[in-house]
């Protein structure tokens, strides 16, 4: 072959037809001294984003199994590891992924989906073994690498590869200026487009299901919403929660605390999605869906429930569907308990609550309004007439601070005022008020009064004082944000020391000391104050919102004696049964103030009663 001819600056042209010189092969000798291009026998270092063997940061991993679910090769198995943290309420399981390299194809979808960003791939890629050591193909990745040698991080989650969407779909709400003089609902709820976008963010890990007190099927109903099948969503919601409208609006939403998407971003708006599903389906259709199971066979048993709140009515809902006759006794003129008389209209409109109650009564639950047990009927009468009695009386009385001058007539309990506002009763609206407490009830009363003050006087004069620092308030952060927007002043770390009264006996304010610490070394409640930092919060009335207690006077002396008690609460077994075999207790009065806990309690008690009554039926 002849040498290429170069013409001008152009590339050399090969003359294939030329026979070439006989000595041409000797030209190869010029390569003799050159360095070979062959790579050394040792494996080279892989590139920076190489997808090698897995690494897993056990501290960050929450065991949500998203990696297992996304793996199309079924290469990932979750392994339960005793001794690791296991806290469903916080959204942590003691499971860690194990990987089968007889299946894995290193696509790294597990890394891209991982909500905690704990999984990554290393730059290590050589593993060989013989038949006896085939078990080495099944590994439990940890931060140390497959062969305990550090090869460096390869493929990791980046903004571009992340499969999660970390921000919530936007939702319309009322602006502060449009809501501070009325009780209109603040949140508008999702539009269908927004709901589908929000539902698409869910990775179906089921952490929400585990953390929910009543174990709602949130992954299932979110999936149904995503599929555009809202009726199926309602069906899934009603599997565990008859207070669906209520929980779609005011739930404490432990699910969102546990949500794995919330580890690095905003959790799925599970509460608003539930609300969306409920709002999309007409009330009549919801009633039909609930009745799909068909009418149960009448059992002939009768159950009395005292208190038509979430716990009582959930128990009633379950029991009536098991074929028992259920009578609910409610002391007040409306059902709903705290959700009716404690939660203001702007958070939970009464008519949506009424829809939930209507679904339950449409099944045949009979509610006797204005019937106070203890005065209109006695417990003894109920015991005689019914096979089982459920005590679901809630926490109706407000706790008092018992600070000096707190017996003044302008010192109120928040629950009493809220009840007056909701039932439309006349009361003396304070021109300025100081609220003691940092929970949701404190926010509810402060924001309700603020609205009334704005209506009547045109300005808001409300101060909220609490022991805790603002970031540790028990109240929902949204509530605090909205309260501040509505012109309420929040003073944190203030321990109430006494109500100030002037010479004429008029209440002029609340004296507080700065809080140094709330709990002692043994985590017991024992606040310590800095007496030098004293503040007088001006106000012509003081409202105590520091908690509630149950009014158990309805039991009567005899029964109170007979029952076993535990620190002022009726003692119950894990199923809600008291020491009296015919009496169960459920709801806030046993498990503290929370709607969804009350619902869970209602189910638990109903299941226990059902079991008891079945035994009774079988005997006779």
């Amino acid at each position: 072959m002849s040498s290429p001819k170069t013409i001008g600056n152009k590339a050399p042209v090969l003359d294939y037809k030329s026979a070439g010189s006989l000595l041409n092969p000797l030209k190869n000798l010029q390569f003799l001294g050159r360095k070979a291009i062959t790579e050394p026998l040792q494996p080279r270092l892989a590139s920076l984003n190489y997808r090698g063997f897995h690494l897993n940061d056990w501290e960050a991993c929450v065991g949500c199994a998203s990696c297992q679910k996304i793996c199309d090769n079924a290469a990932i198995t979750m392994v339960e590891i005793p001794g690791l943290k296991n806290d469903p309420v916080k959204g942590i399981r003691n499971h860690r992924p194990a990987i089968d390299y007889g299946r894995c194809c290193w696509c790294a979808l597990c890394v891209d989906i991982c909500p905690s960003a704990s999984l990554s791939l290393s730059r290590e890629y050589v593993h060989t073994c013989d038949q006896e050591h085939i078990d080495s193909y099944f590994i439990l990745p940890d931060p140390n690498g497959m062969h305990k040698k550090h090869f460096g991080q390869g493929w990791q989650k980046t903004e571009h590869s992340d499969l999660l969407s970390l921000t919530r779909s936007a939702m319309a709400e009322l602006e502060p200026a449009n809501r501070d003089t009325n009780f209109n609902e603040i949140v508008h709820g999702f539009t269908p487009e927004q709901a589908v976008v929000e539902a698409s963010r869910c990775i179906q890990c089921g952490m929400c299901h585990d953390s929910c007190p009543t174990h709602m099927h949130a992954p299932e109903y979110i999936r149904a919403i995503w599929n555009g099948d809202v009726e199926e969503a309602v069906r899934q919601i009603y599997r565990t929660n008859p207070f669906a409208h209520v929980c779609g609006r005011v739930c404490t939403r432990r699910c969102e605390t546990a949500c794995s998407v919330g580890i690095r971003g905003e959790p799925i708006a599970i509460r608003w999605l539930k609300r969306y599903a409920m709002d999309q389906v007409s009330h009549d259709r919801i009633k039909q869906i609930v009745k799909e199971d068909g009418k149960p066979k009448a059992s002939g048993h009768k159950v009395a429930i005292i208190g038509a709140g979430p716990a009582g009515l959930t128990a009633a809902f379950d029991l009536i569907r098991s074929g028992h006759k259920v009578d609910v006794f409610e002391a007040l003129p409306h059902a709903g308990g705290m959700t009716r008389y404690g939660i203001p209209d702007y958070r939970l409109p009464f008519d949506t609550l009424q829809q939930d109650i209507d679904v339950i009564t449409s099944l045949g639950v009979k509610i006797h309004y204005n019937c106070r047990i203890g005065t209109d009927k006695t417990m003894a009468q109920l015991q005689k007439k019914y096979d089982a009695v459920v005590l679901a009386i809630g926490l109706s009385k407000g706790r008092q601070t018992r600070i000096p001058n707190s017996e003044h007539r302008h010192v109120y309990r928040a629950v009493d005022l809220l009840q007056k506002i909701s039932s439309g009763e006349e009361f003396e609206l304070p021109q300025s008020a100081v609220v003691i407490g940092g929970g949701n009830v404190a926010m509810d009363i402060a924001r309700s009064l603020a609205r009334l003050q704005k209506q009547q006087f045109g300005e808001v004069k409300i101060t909220v004082t609490a022991l805790e620092q603002q970031q540790h308030f028990m109240a929902d952060p949204d509530e605090i944000k909205e309260a501040l927007e509505e012109g309420i002043i929040i003073r944190d770390s203030c321990g109430p020391q006494g109500c100030e009264i002037d010479k004429s006996g008029k209440l002029i304010g609340l004296k507080t000391w700065k809080v140094v610490s709330i709990f002692d070394e043994e985590h017991r409640f024992s606040p310590r104050y800095d007496e030098t930092e004293e503040t007088i919060h001006a106000g012509d009335s003081v409202i105590e919102a520091i908690g509630q207690f149950a009014d158990t006077t309805l039991l009567g002396e005899q029964l109170t004696e007979k029952l076993e008690w535990n620190r002022g609460r009726i003692k119950i077994d894990p199923n809600g049964r008291t020491s009296e075999p015919w009496l169960w207790s459920a709801g806030d009065c046993v498990s503290g103030p929370d709607v969804v806990h009350a619902v869970a309690d209602g189910h638990r008690v109903a299941a226990s009663i059902q079991q008891q009554l079945t035994i009774k039926t079988n005997k006779s």
Binding site: A65, V79, E80, D135, F138, G206, T214, H215
Partner: protein, 186 residues
Amino acid sequence: MNSAQSQSLNVLLQEIEGIQLTHQNQRRLRADISADALPALLALLRGRAGYVHLSAISCVDWIEDDQFELVYHLWSYETSILISAHIRVARDPGIYLSVFDIYTPAAFFERDIHEMFGLYFEGSPDMSKFILTEWDGPPPMRKDFDSEQWVMDNFTWQDYHPDWLKQIEQQGGGVVKSADSSRKSS
């Protein structure tokens, strides 16, 4: 291709009864016809429109409609328009006519479809096994064939038991059966 050709093709195709034409784009024409009319359509295309090439026959299992869809992809070097003729055949008994007499290569496509879907072509020269010579299960591309289930029933998997797993099992842990079995139920 020019519009005159396209128009004459349209006119020609109207000779087939009940034909529905959809121009998907300039060079793709979809024709939906009844199964009975297909041989006539193919004969017409081959004989009078220069469609000498049958590129493929594809099959779709519409299990909910209880039908197979057969798509005949035809190509003409003159018009450069790809015609896909769609027909529906009942899934049961799953018998249709061979077009081997019109297009010889159809024999392979039909044999393949018979193997994968179980649809029998009457008049096709050879309906014996084609690619899946080792297969005697149900036609695997039918929608009612559950490949995963079949694999689970017929194969075994590695039963790994490495030391780390033994250790964890001693402590009371172990492999979690399925992702959702770890969920609490109410």
